[in-house]
Each structure stands twice: as C-alpha cells, then as structure tokens.
C-alpha cells in the first residue's frame, strides 16, 4: 500500500514528487514579491495584472488585455450571429446599470471604428450602422423624489452625448406610454393594472414584459431594425433557474439565445458570454459612469433565485457559466436567428454575408402559438379547454396565456377577467386574439421559395 519508508529509493516513489511539489511552492512564494514570471498578465505576459477574470488565479489580466478580452467576447457574439450589419439601425436599451453601460460603450466603439473605416474607404460600399439609445423611465411606479429622477436622466443625457461622434439619438420614454400615444390616464391605468396582481413575482415579471413592449414600440416607430439588450451571463443564469421554478421549461430556450426574432424588431444579446463580475470590473477600471438609483432589488421568486445563484457563485466561480452552458444545450426555436433578408434594397454584400453565415431559413413551418402576456411559445398541451360561461374575449386571453402567466399574472377570480383585459396594453390583447398566427416573418419564410427576387446569384 502506501510507502511508509523514509529512505525509499525506488524510482517511482511518491516522496520524490512531494519534494518537487514543495520546491515549486517555495519558488512561487519568492516570486510574488518581485515581478517574476509568475506575477504577470496571463495574456500579454508583459504588464502587471490589475484584475481577475472569473477564472480566478488563472485569469489575471492587465487593464488592456482585460478590456480586449471582454470586447472580444462582445465582438464575436455580434459577428457570429450577424447581429449588427451595415444597413441596421440598432436601439440600445439602457437601464443605467453596469451591463448596459458597457454595452453602450462597446456598441459605440464598434460604430466608431466602422465610421473610421468608412471615411477611409474609397468605394463606400458598406455604410455605417446607426445607433440610438432608449431609457425606460419607471419612476411613476416607484416613489422616488422627482429631483432624483431628473438628475438620473440628466446623467444619462450627458453619457450619451459624450459618446459622439457618431451622434446617437436618446429616447427617454415613461413606461406608461405603452398604453396610449396621448398619455391620458396612463399612470393610473398602469397603477390599476399592477394593483390587480396579487403575486409579487407576477408584478415584477409583468413589468419586464411591459418594458420590452415599450422598447419594441420605440424601435418600430423610429425605424430601428434591432433592439440590443445588455443581458449578461449572470442574468441569464438567474433566468434559467427562475424560469424552471415557474414551470416555463418548454419556452426557456427561446429567451436565452443570442437572437430572438419573435418580436417585430428582433432582439439581440451581445453580452451573453460576459459575466456580471467582469462587466463591473470594467466599469471601475475605465471609470464608466453608472446610474444605479433606478434599479430596485427584486423580491419574491426572482429575489430568492438571485440570492441562490449568488451563494452558488461563492462556492464555485464558474457556476453561472455552467448553468448557461447547460441551458444552451436545450433546443432553441426557429425564431432564434436573424430572419433572412429578402429586401432587394439591401446591398448584395450584406446578403452574401448572411448566406455565408448559414442564416438562411430552413423553410420550417411555424406552428407555434405564443402567450399573450409574455410572448413565450406555448406547448400544445398547455392550453386548457375554454372556460365555460365566459365571453369569447376573456376566455381567449386565458387560453392564450402560458401556465405561468395564468397563475401569477391573470386574476384568480374569473369575474375580474374582463376588467383586467381592459387594462392591458393593446399589443397583448391583440396577441390573444390572433393566437395561432405566429409572427409575420415566419409566415414569410414559408412562402419564401415562391417569391421572385431580382437577385440572380441565389442558387
């Protein structure tokens, strides 16, 4: 069994290795004080490291390498998924927190470089993509002093104006504007809607859905072709757990991919591979200003999941990545890629680019129906039979909602359903009515083969 002799001379004896081990650790200790080989940036091996990635000891970077590493993840996500191409106008969702601040910074840098290339190029074949910034003002629901809100908005304005050239348009939109364009009674309607919900988690989730609808509205009214969110690895890890806990296992894979084309304006997540810890570090390294006040801590299920994931992270720094990787193995949906560009106004260079990246639709028929509230794809067996004695409109909504929304958002008492429907934004009610239609772009995919285009080099 184990070697107990202290004078063992056999060549394979473990004691040899034990001594070598001890020697190694001695040299490491000595090296830490001076700038020996061990204490350098792991990437460029020349500068002194100032921060750690989530790999812990194995990923010490100097400032430049750290930033390049993080930007590289962003750039790769954008390129590999064709998120942003020259003719696009992208709307960056800005909440003021570290993730969206870094997102804005990276998108700006990408745009800046594209502008430089454009200015230097002779044929001007690829135009520079446009960038706008949207901030959803939720101060009407929280009881903040109006000065706080004004100051925050001022800060955001200055951040955006400092990121020019190229110039970026800023939209500051109150969340209640989703109800009607003229803004009459919107605040009260929003408050009534939230009060109709008994479940705290339901309230938080409904706000998230309303926020997304708001972004869609701004994007489509102003000619934007993409909505860019700063959702990072950590947030996705929390989402995976909370969606599992709410019974949304079927639709989970739809919400965590790089691209989500269910919406009228496709939504993209270029920071999907970036952990929150690294984004925070970058903000402090580069002095990127954050506007934190408007972010309230979650309670209910979302808050519980958040603290759970935090505990797991403390035990093992790469747990978030493992969760996201596992969830990434779930089968995505047909709308989890950029829809094919068929508009003949789009430069052929761009269309070649899309074909090269294998982004053609495979002609699969879309028979998905979507939840009226959260837009998640419904598994066929999820929809219960129609409630008796209900008017078609109200039972439409019940049938057209996923089981999670049925539980935490829709009213328990069927007699309150009609009033609830009247409070919802038009977009949700419309979704309920058109249950099985799916979305427009997928319908187009079905008939794509029969449409004649001017482009001849399609094989």
């Amino acid at each position: 069994m184990a070697c107990n002799s202290s004078t063992c001379n056999s060549s394979g004896c473990y004691k040899e290795y034990e001594e070598k081990d001890q020697n190694n650790s001695k040299t490491r200790v000595a090296v830490k004080g001076s700038s020996g080989r061990q204490n350098l940036c792991v990437k460029c091996k020349s500068s002194e490291p100032v921060c750690c990635g989530i790999g812990g000891e194995d990923s010490k970077f100097c400032k430049d390498c750290f930033k390049n590493n993080l930007y590289g993840k962003f750039k790769q996500a954008v390129t590999y998924n064709a998120m942003i191409t020259p003719p696009d106008k992208v709307l960056v969702a800005f909440s003021g927190g570290p993730s969206s601040r870094v997102l804005l910074q990276f998108v700006h840098e990408m745009q800046y470089r594209a502008q430089k290339n454009y200015d230097a190029s002779k044929d001007k074949s690829l135009p520079v993509f446009g960038v706008g910034v949207a901030f959803i003002d939720e101060s009407s629901i929280h009881s903040f002093a109006s000065q706080q809100t004004e100051k925050a908005i001022e800060d955001i304005r200055s951040i955006v104006s400092n990121l020019a050239p190229p110039l970026k348009e800023l939209f500051v939109v109150p969340i209640e504007s989703i109800f009607s364009p003229d803004g009459i009674d919107c605040k009260e309607r929003l408050q009534k809607l939230l009060d109709a919900l008994g479940d705290v988690t339901g309230k938080e989730d409904l706000l998230i859905h309303l926020r997304l609808l708001c972004l869609q509205k701004i994007a489509s009214e102003n000619g934007y072709t993409r909505v860019v969110l700063g959702t990072c690895t950590s947030r996705i890890a929390c989402y995976v757990i909370s969606a599992t806990v709410k019974g949304q296992g079927y639709s989970l894979s739809a919400d965590i991919q790089y691209v989500d084309s269910r919406w009228e304006i496709p939504v993209v997540l270029p920071l999907r591979d970036c952990p929150a810890q690294e984004l925070n570090t970058l903000c402090s390294l580069d002095g990127l200003k954050i506007v934190e006040m408007l972010n309230c801590p979650c309670s209910g299920i979302n808050g519980l999941v958040s603290s759970f994931v935090k505990v797991l992270q403390e035990e093992n720094l790469s747990r978030e990545c493992t969760i996201v990787r596992t969830a990434g193995k779930l089968t995505p949906f047909h709308f989890n890629r950029i829809p094919e560009i068929h508009d003949s106004n789009v430069p052929s260079a761009t269309r070649r680019h899309h074909r090269r990246h294998g982004l053609k639709s495979n002609g699969s028929l879309s028979s998905e129906s979507f939840c009226a509230i959260c837009n998640s794809p419904l598994k066929n067996s999820n929809s219960p039979s129609r409630l008796k004695n209900e008017s078609p409109q109200t039972s439409d909504l019940f049938v057209a909602a996923c089981s999670s929304c049925q539980f935490q958002i829709l009213p328990k008492d069927p007699s309150l359903m009609e009033q609830f429907v009247s409070l919802l934004p038009r977009a949700m009610v419309a979704r309920a009515k058109h249950g099985d239609r799916g979305n427009v772009s997928s319908v187009r995919e079905q008939i794509q083969d029969f449409l004649l285009s001017d482009d001849d080099d399609e094989v």
Binding site: N24, T201, T322, T326, L330
Partner: protein, 355 residues
C-alpha cells in the same frame, strides 16, 4: 339559524372537502384547510390516480419496495399495501432493504424495516455492501473522506437494489422518491451541466430496458405531506439524516427548495413540469448501452461505475472514477497535476505511477 346546524365556536374552520368535520391541518401542497380523514383520503387517492394514469403496475406482478426504514419508504409500503387491497391491484409486494454498513445509522433503521415487515405483513430481504462488494460505507469513508462518499454509496446502492430484486425474482422495484427529491435532482442536473441526466430524471418509470424497471409512485407527492401522513397515522419510521451526508452538494438545492416552498408551494411541481418540458434533442437522451466486462451489469462504458469505484478502493486509488478524468489510465496523471494534495499520493503503491 336552522334547527339541525351544529353549534360552532366563532372562528372554527371546517374542512373544505367534507364541510362537516373541523379542519385539523393545512395541506402543504395547496394550503387548503382539511380534516384528517379527508387528508388521508385525498393523499391516497392522488397516489392511486398517479398509479393508474401512468400505468405503473400490472395485475399479478411481483413488486419490491425499496425500504430504508425512513419516512418515504415506510409510507410507500403502507400506502401501496393499502391501495393494493382497496383497489385490487393484484400485486405481490415485498420489502427490499440495503445495508450499507453505517454504524449508528443504518443498523438502527434496519430495525425499523424489520418491524415494518411484521406490521405490514410484507416479506423482507436485506442485501449488504459487505456481502456484495466486500466494503462497508464506514470502511469506504475511512479511506476516502467525506467529500465524494455519496457518489460511492449511490452507485453501490443502485446495483445492490438490482441484485436484491433479482434474488427476489420481482418484476419491478418501487422507490419512495418524492416530488421534492425529483425537483432537487432537476436543479442539480442544471447546476452540474448534466443534460443527459436532465432529460431522464423526471421519468416516472426508468430502466425499462435494463435488468429491473423502477417506478416512483410518489413523483407528485410533497415530502411535507408524507411526513404529515406518517405523523397522523402514527407510522413507525426512522428519522435521522445519514451521518455522512452534511457535505453533499444536494444540500444547496434542498435549502433553496425549502425557501421556495414557503413563498410558492406549487413551485415544486412547476420544477418537475419544467423538467418534463425541457427541449432536449432525443439523440442526447440515451447513452449507448452495453454490459460491464467485469461483472456483466448494465453499463454505458467498458466497466460499470461500481466496478470502477471498487477497483479504486481495492487498489488504494480513491479518486478513480471521481471527477472529470474518469478513465482507468488517466487517474495517475490527474493526481500528479494536483499540488499539495499529498493525501491521494500517499496511498499509491510505489512503482504504480504511470507517465
């Protein structure tokens, strides 16, 4: 007031099911207020429906109930024999117990199972790690410590149950895994990145293509309700945690689910539903199935996991089969890479390190 209305004290709650008797408890699953008799009835009826809807048993089958002496298996034995009688399932029921050799824990719980044999009138068979593998858990923990012991025990127990079931010549094994267990397993598999297990862990019947199929009649039954049933019915069970388990990773998931249940009791069933609904490509579902070269047990690798672990124990290589590099030849390289972990190197024989 009508003449035949019973006089109630103000504030007395009536059972929501029968509306006659006083409510004695709140159902953990639904938070409904219910009397004892109705609770027994709904508890037993729900399990009966699960058995019917999922076609768990066929008349004439011999069924071994995995019996540890704990609350889940005791209640399972009690309820199954009751339902078997009441609804004429036509089953031959047996108790099958595994003795892992944990002093102060298992020997006490085995006494409970022996009492169950007499109380429920079900024949009992005990299989032990010592007889099957030559090692008790006490001896294993002494060698490998407290970090990976649950892996050893779980793998050995699975095979032990199959061996015992073969000796009893039964058609199926029924285990007391409850909704909380399955929800924990779903979460654990997400956390650990095991997509293949994730697709299988919510199945109510497993191992249909293996030696003995197993089923989990308590798949939708809450642990709290099992405890309540056992408590009110005064069933005899052994209620201590395994003495070697405090470090198990499952503890994280368990804590979380307990907190979750407090806010939203239905979340446990929602997790199971999510697990059933996950879109996992069917190609990832089944690992290629063969037999172990050493012992003939079902295995997806050359050697079954139990044989790999046993080999490690017998050769003094406790890390064999644990962690990423699980092969028989790569263990030596793995141990050299670790710095400062002399514990594993100490137990190697001289001359056995490979390069």
């Amino acid at each position: 007031m009508e003449a035949d209305t019973k006089h109630k004290k103000p504030g007395t709650r009536l059972c929501c099911a029968c509306n006659q008797r006083r409510a004695a408890l709140k159902r953990p699953k639904t938070l409904e207020q219910i009397c004892r008799e109705c609770f027994y009835a709904v508890f037993e009826e729900e399990i009966h429906q699960v058995i019917l809807e999922n076609k768990l048993f066929k008349p004439g089958e011999r069924i071994a109930i995995g019996a540890s002496g704990g609350k889940d298996s005791t209640v399972l034995a009690y309820v199954l024999s009751e339902l078997n009688r009441r609804h004429n399932y036509g089953l031959d029921l047996f108790l099958l117990s595994v003795d892992e050799g944990i002093t102060g824990y298992r020997d006490d719980s085995l006494e409970t199972v022996k009492r169950n044999e007499l109380q429920y009138g079900l024949p009992l068979k005990i299989v032990s790690y010592k007889d099957l593998y030559g090692w008790t858990m006490d001896e294993i923990v002494k060698m490998i410590g407290l970090k990976n012991n649950c892996t050893f025990c779980g793998v050995f127990r699975r095979q032990a149950l199959d061996r015992g079931a073969a000796l009893l010549k039964v058609d199926k094994v029924a285990t007391g895994h409850n909704a909380d267990d399955i929800a924990e397993t779903v979460l654990l598999n997400i956390l650990r990145g095991d997509i293949a297990r994730l697709s299988r862990c919510t199945s109510i019947i497993t191992g249909e293509d293996g030696p003995i199929p197993r089923c989990k009649p308590f798949k939708y039954t809450y642990e709290k309700e099992i405890v309540m049933y056992a408590y009110f019915k005064k069933l005899d069970y052994f209620s201590t945690e395994c003495i070697y388990s405090p470090n198990a990773y499952r503890g994280f998931a368990r804590e979380f689910i307990k907190d979750l249940e407090r806010i939203r009791p239905r979340a446990i069933l929602d997790i199971i539903k999510s697990g059933e609904d996950f879109r996992i490509a069917t190609s990832t579902k089944m690992p290629e199935q063969g037999t172990c070269e050493r012992c003939g047990y079902i295995s997806s690798q050359k050697w079954c996991k139990a044989c790999v672990l046993l080999e490690g124990l017998n050769r003094g290589l406790p890390k064999l089969g644990i962690g990423r590099n699980q092969g028989l030849n790569s263990d030596a390289k793995e141990d050299i890479k670790k710095d400062g972990r002399t514990k594993s190197i100490e137990s190697k024989q001289c001359g056995s390190l490979e390069f």
